[in-house]
Amino acid sequence: MGGCCSVIYIYDGTWDGFLTAVHHYYYDRQSVTNIESALSYRPNLIDDYKNIIVDTSRAKSVEKAILDKISFDSLDNIMRCFFSETEGREMWIIRYIKIGFKIGSKIDCMLGDPAVLDVLQPARKVKFECHRMLGLLRFELLESNIYYAKIQPDHNIITFISSHFKERFADQNWVIHDTKRSLAALYNTKRMLISYMNLTNIPNLHADELKFQSLWKNYFKHIAIKSRFNPKLQKQFLPKRYWKHLTEKT
């Protein structure tokens, strides 16, 4: 639409795609008003936009630049902020990187700065949900000896949590299925794969599964002390939105 000077970048929604866009942002010498994911972007007739094609070598070089010029902690926070899927995060990260490239790892100490907090706060939320999900995820044993867990986290955390389960349940076949994003982590006691996929035809439950579910529910019921009942406190730790995938709460 004839826009000569400013443009919106559209990337494919992945981390590497985003980093590629950051690379373009620095080298295209073009004024960029926004960076948006193809998964959420609705094009209109007013804005000019440019499709960013994923380029892993460009992505890697941005990752390396953040590591070298800023710090490991900053890269970690930027990545978590990205996977928070918070609207507007792309430009927050750009702003953060700009400051970081100027002042280096000092940025990790600027904990009261609004521009830094734009990235840190979503990153903290992601960290918090990751830790919470390490406990709240529930596997069900399926007929084909696969442990299957369905999750619907607020943030896109499957990459951050999978390595924990890989280490812990190294001798089990398992699947962690983020049904909200059609993402799954598959592990077959040797290798792990994380990818966007729709898992259909999920096998039936193993013959023993319901027995252990009912034992667990019974334990959960008995372990509470009646004279200390405190549903408000329980909900504070265990928000209701997580209940539908919790064996003991269904």
Binding site: K127, N188, S195, N201, R228, F237
Partner: protein
């Protein structure tokens, strides 16, 4: 009795033991199942709002003792049951593999005699580790009076061991648990502590030597079953931390499960008192306070309306206000409204610039509480007052005020998140693949020859 009912009975019998922490473990998975998570992981919260991290059960509730406060005492009319070793192992392994729990917390009533009981428990933890390749967390209760050798051997298989003192004074023990003199409780705690220290020393020289009770030992004190004051309870905790290097002292509000003329006639467990003791316990362990600073003979109990730190600050108003941009970490921690996390963030931020009140708010400092105690670059906060009653009003626990939406009395957690995640090494695996045309093939991933030949590219569904 079937397994389902047994689990109900023996979970009921175990639930008054409040410890459920799974922190401090260092075990890695070596070709089996399970590992420790340094910060511990909560897996669910029961209807009373307490975290469930471990499968907490008694091996048996058929006790020969008659401790008055205890629901399992021999003269109490409750259903009795005992697990077999196989049953405990089956439950632990199956719950663990489904990610219900971090591990097992096994305790027991005294069955026949202490050594007999300890031997049964030792057998279970040994088999879990050796036969089932289980590397999850194990917290084992030491049975006072059991053969020292058994406790020493069990300590090589478990992560944490605890011996509950339960009653915070000799007098209390004498009246309510005549078969358990305090000396008999403290001796094995001393023994465990010595073993821990010795095994750490050995580990320094021989890296391959196994650690004895690597996550340390803990104990529990019952609050409200005896007339002990908060001061003597806190002094006891302080002595336990200092002398036995305990990782935790747990406080359990006495839940009236029995009536006996020797017990107080309580209607409700003293939950607020328990909460105040936990707050004070945190002040001892992480904030550099000593018991004598918090309570005194003239003032032997915690205030219900003020938390111990606020109470201390109010009694020491002459030390404030302090300048945020120059005061040391130890004193920062003593300001109401500044916790460990905020104090650390303040220290870090100060390295790159001077802070103002707006920065403090963003960092997470509660200015409503801390405003009377600090200055920023010489300025006081807008609500600042020297008037003691105004300061006090801002410090009264919001938890106690009606219609409060704030946090409710209950568990405390030091860190809401843990920082020990590796940066996702597998991130580059996360590509956006095209919508798979045939989604029926994903199961074949599990039938692939398991020789490591499988590549990412094999899975283009």
């Amino acid at each position: 009795m079937n397994l389902f009912d047994k689990l109900g009975v023996l979970a009921d019998a175990a639930k008054y033991d409040v410890s459920c922490s799974s922190s401090g473990g260092t075990r890695n998975n070596k070709n089996g199942v399970g590992n420790s998570h340094t910060a511990g992981i909560c897996h669910t919260w029961s209807d009373d709002g307490r975290c469930v991290s471990l499968l907490k059960i008694l091996l048996s509730n058929e006790c020969i003792y008659d401790c008055v406060y205890c629901v399992n005492r021999v003269s109490n009319d409750v259903t009795r049951a005992s697990f077999t070793a196989d049953e405990v192992i089956e439950l632990t392994m199956n719950f663990y593999r489904r990610n219900y729990i971090e591990g097992l917390f096994l305790s027991s009533a005294v069955l026949k005699n202490p050594s007999y009981t300890m031997e049964l428990m030792l057998d279970i933890v040994r088999r879990l580790r050796n036969e089932h390749g289980f590397y999850g967390y194990i917290h084992l209760k030491g049975i006072p009076g059991a053969d020292e050798k058994l406790i020493n051997e069990a300590g090589m298989f478990v992560d944490r061991m605890s011996i509950n003192i339960e009653l915070p004074s000799d007098k209390g023990l004498e009246v309510l648990a005549p078969q358990k003199p305090k000396k008999a409780l403290l001796r094995p705690m001393q023994q465990i502590n010595n073993k821990i220290i010795a095994s750490k020393e050995e580990h320094k020289t021989f890296k391959s030597s196994k650690l004895f009770v690597p996550a340390g030992q803990s104990t529990q004190l019952i609050i409200g079953a005896t007339p002990d004051r908060d001061l003597s309870i806190l002094k006891l905790s302080e002595a336990l931390y200092d002398n036995f290097n305990l990782k935790r002292v747990y406080y359990s509000a006495y839940v009236p499960t029995l009536t006996d003329s020797r017990l107080p006639a309580l209607i409700k467990p003293p939950l607020l008192r328990e909460h105040r003791l936990y707050q004070a316990d945190w002040l001892l362990r992480f904030y550099g306070f000593s018991a004598d600073e918090l309570l005194s003979k003239a003032n032997p109990d915690f205030s219900p309306e003020l938390d111990p730190k606020a109470d201390w600050a109010l009694r020491n108003l002459h030390l404030f206000p302090i300048e945020i941009n120059s005061i040391d970490y130890e004193m920062l921690l003593r300001v109401p409204g500044i916790g460990i996390q905020s104090a650390k963030r303040i220290i870090a931020s100060r390295r790159v610039g001077r802070l103002n009140f707006d920065n403090l708010k963003k960092i997470g400092v509660v200015l409503k509480r801390s405003g009377h105690f600090i200055t920023c670059q010489g300025k006081t906060y807008e609500t600042y007052s020297k008037n003691e009653s105004v300061v006090k009003e801002s410090l009264v626990s919001s938890k106690l005020l009606p219609q409060s939406k704030k946090a409710v009395v209950g568990q405390m957690s030091l860190f809401s998140t843990s920082n020990d995640y590796d940066i996702g090494r597998n991130t580059s695996n996360l590509y956006l693949f095209d919508q798979p045309s045939n989604t029926k093939q994903w199961l074949s991933y599990y039938d692939q020859p398991q020789d490591g030949r499988l590549l990412l590219s094999d899975i283009h569904l």
